[in-house]
Symmetry: C2
Subunit: 501 residues, 2 copies
């Protein structure tokens, strides 16, 4: 065992003989949350060391489109340029509905109050944003607009609760390279402003003193365990745990049959486990983002989604993560899209699609797909009767996407997760990543199960349980938005706190 | 702060000045798991001290019917007397299907292998069991039979996977007093055989030494914090956390809108939190038992359950916890039972029932209940068509419960959890208790998130994540069965382990 080992991920500070380096703030993980924390800690006057396990920074944020979910305060600079209005209360009402009892009201409010200013910060890094909006139903723009809808704002029941506003802000570039553009700009600032970056450094433990204060970390650097002192604080920004199969089995076993891990290869839960070893409480650990992006093309939304009982189960105009949540709840995860010829096209994001049934009548397609006899016919008869009047009494799909399914031929496309494949993923299943982590205050301070702050310990990004709490209410941009926004808060707080023992 | 306080629930062993008492095994909590652990530790030769927060023992087990889910090995003594056969592999197949990816294969196997002998142990305590079986669809016998079906054995899909065997074993007595009878018998043995019992003693922390070994506890006794040394081990059997609102909010927020905490008032998660403070991993924390006992009377099973979209969602002959799981998944937790006059009677276990709609036609009842127009009519038309042939192509309710719903008048009974009340509960909602806790080996040894054993620390019952993992697959008797069975194992292991430092 190494010096002062109490248990895995934890060492006794007093037992450390020699420090490799002493600084004020140590940031563990150089993705979106860590880089934001480092920048702000440094700007607040602290000496900052960033440790990164990989050979370079970026984390999962660099792999993403870098959508950020922003609005409130009358609107961001993009909203204002385009004449789109958004109020802080409207944004709060929306996010509150998104996560229900899982949401953290304090984080939601603070985020909504600061989101428009956070856009200005992101732009000030040198990230290009274009004052143009893409209003079609899609996932990311392949053109160069910087604003789009990335959640359920226009869909039932959210459209009854808050005024729909597009809040997905994405760097402007044709293609899907937002994450790279953003992280390059952010890391350039971090480094220019004097944080020290140590890559190929795996943090293996936090150092906690006999009063419970976290005072540094142990890290494997050049094959050796070295001790790094942090007089002001340690910030854990090491991602989630989606790549840790054993943690998924323990905490989110329900997603195993239909989820495919999507993230950075180092999303192994190290930060969460270190925080827990120091007494931190991990919460929301069973909740995952899930992606069922059967669109684009948007016209597939004219179809209806049915489960293995031939029943509809959701308004098809919902956002990809809400669809993923509901699809995951259906018996045997059996999901089909019924679509008539004029709306048929293959999904852009899902491959290996199997046509489970086709026919010149619904009955034929139903039989070929092996759905219970008459079940799909009853579902379609009911749907068509009301769709022809622009109504969907069962699930309230918006009128824009309602029309009878009565022009053969018909296809039933299987989206059973065991069969579909995402170009981004390796194995079949809906893309997923974890939404559970250390419980923190909005300042990033890590809490014990009793609600006490662990002095000197901070977390942000998917190492923490942040703004996004469920796939059911997720909007794209809530994770990168949260990671960078609350990463900044953690950096500011750690720099300001100093060593008050 | 008290002596050696590292953080709440944890003290440093080396800092303790004076021990109030030194013994070999300390058991924290005197319910079913704790009493079983104490008895077996003592029988294995250890000196045992039991600490109980309440003024007397019993825990949640004493409040229950004390059903135990037992079988395998050719059958228990009751099975054999009645000529009912059960194999260990049949029992394993059933329980494995119950919990899917959430199940612990090692615990399932060990339990199934030892369950028939566990019945003999229970009977040897002096608990009366009658060799008679009650085969009707019910929850607990109000007559004096000791064997009944308490899970989904006879229902789809379980009836396709394992041979249905009744495995609920309950003390024989008219009325529902099994828990009292069992705990009185068990506690009498524990005390007769020499364990020391200290009631009104709240354990507030475990004592851990600098090598990570747990060596005792701190407890509030007579208003003072006292230190108790345990040379062989500490066994945490302090129940689950259903009465801890803050833990429910953090770990199982989804049940808040429809669950009503059901358990012992001291099910506050103390044991789980102490285990976590000592480095233990808590798993399965979002899963809860949920009870939607719309039956008995069994004849209500001839009705159909529909959600707020007027759709069926489950085979109505499923067991109460599986019904609770699925009911909780429906949008807005909106649940109705459609029943025709000849099958109508009020549920025995659920009060405050509101008749949401009645009518001489389905259409009338549907309209009165405010279901989407035509939705229930379509559901019933489909159901009746196949029910008249003894088929249920959508959900596979067994033929026994299938008949057309075509004899008016009809009633739609609301089982929306916000409206129903259980005689056992205080507030509206489905009865619930927690199924998450410390991760343990089958021996009761508590594991860290890295899978390492914490020397000297054991857990059983709802303080641990045991056999029952989800409401979806729960059978009554799995919790008391697990608590007593694995409580015994923990007692044996702690007694045998000694102090090996």
């Amino acid at each position: 065992m190494s010096q002062g080992t109490v248990r895995p991920w934890l060492r006794r500070f007093e037992d450390v003989g020699e420090f490799y380096l002493s600084t004020e703030v140590v940031v563990c993980g150089y993705g979106g949350a860590g880089a934001s924390a480092a920048l702000e800690a440094r700007r607040a006057g602290a000496d900052v060391l960033v440790l990164e396990r990989a050979s370079g920074g970026g984390g999962a944020t660099a792999m993403s489109s870098c959508e950020m979910y922003l609005g409130g305060s009358g609107g961001t600079a993009i909203h204002k340029a385009l004449g789109i209005e958004d109020s802080t209360e409207n944004m709060i009402a929306y996010i509150t509905e998104c996560f229900g009892p899982h949401g953290d009201p304090e984080k939601i409010r603070l985020y909504a109050e600061g989101a428009a200013a956070h856009f200005d910060w992101a732009e000030s890094l040198g990230v290009p944003y274009k004052r143009e909006v893409l209003l079609e139903r899609t996932v990311v723009p392949f053109t160069d607009e910087s604003l789009l809808f990335t959640g359920n704002e226009r869909a039932h029941p959210f459209n009854k609760i808050a005024e729909p506003v597009p809040r997905g802000h994405v760097p402007s570039k044709e293609g899907d390279e937002g994450g790279k553009i953003f992280m390059q700009a952010l890391m350039a600032k971090v480094e220019a402003e004097g944080s020290i970056i140590q890559t190929d450094a795996r943090v293996v433990a936090v150092l906690q003193d006999s009063d419970g204060r976290v005072r540094g970390v142990a890290a494997k650097i050049d094959g050796e365990e070295k001790y790094l002192e942090a007089s002001h604080g340690v910030i854990l920004t090491a991602g989630g745990f989606v790549m840790n199969r054993s943690m998924i089995e323990r905490h989110a076993a329900h997603v195993i049959p239909f989820g495919e891990p999507y993230g950075n290869q180092w999303d192994l839960g190290d930060g969460i486990q270190m925080g827990m070893a120091a007494g931190g409480n991990a919460i929301n650990m069973n909740e995952c983002f899930l992606s069922f992006a059967f669109y684009p093309p948007a016209k597939l939304t004219y179809g209806i989604l049915v489960n293995g009982h031939g029943q509809r189960f959701i308004n098809e105009d919902a956002y990809l993560a809400r669809l993923g949540h509901y699809a995951g709840l259906q018996d045997n995860h059996e999901i089909y899209l019924l679509v008539q010829n004029e709306d048929f096209e293959l999904s852009h994001y899902m491959e290996n699609l199997r046509i489970a049934g086709t026919g010149d009548s619904i009955a034929e397609a139903e039989t070929e797909a092996g759905l219970p006899p008459g079940s799909l016919q009853a579902t379609v008869a009911y749907y068509n009767k009301y769709a022809s009047r622009g109504e969907d009494p069962l699930f309230h799909k918006t009128e824009q996407w309602l029309k009878p399914i009565d022009k053969p031929p018909y296809a039933l496309v299987s989206y059973c997760p065991q069969e579909v494949k995402y170009p981004l993923g390796e194995k079949p299943g809906y893309l997923m990543f974890t939404l559970g982590g250390l419980e923190t205050l909005p300042t990033g301070e890590v809490l014990t199960a009793q609600g006490d702050v662990i002095p000197g310990l901070y977390a942000a990004g998917r190492t923490s349980a942040g703004l996004p709490r469920t796939a059911k209410g997720y909007a794209s941009g809530m994770s990168v938005g949260d990671a960078t926004f609350f990463g900044r808060k953690a950096g500011q707080q750690a720099a300001a706190s100093g060593d008050d023992t």
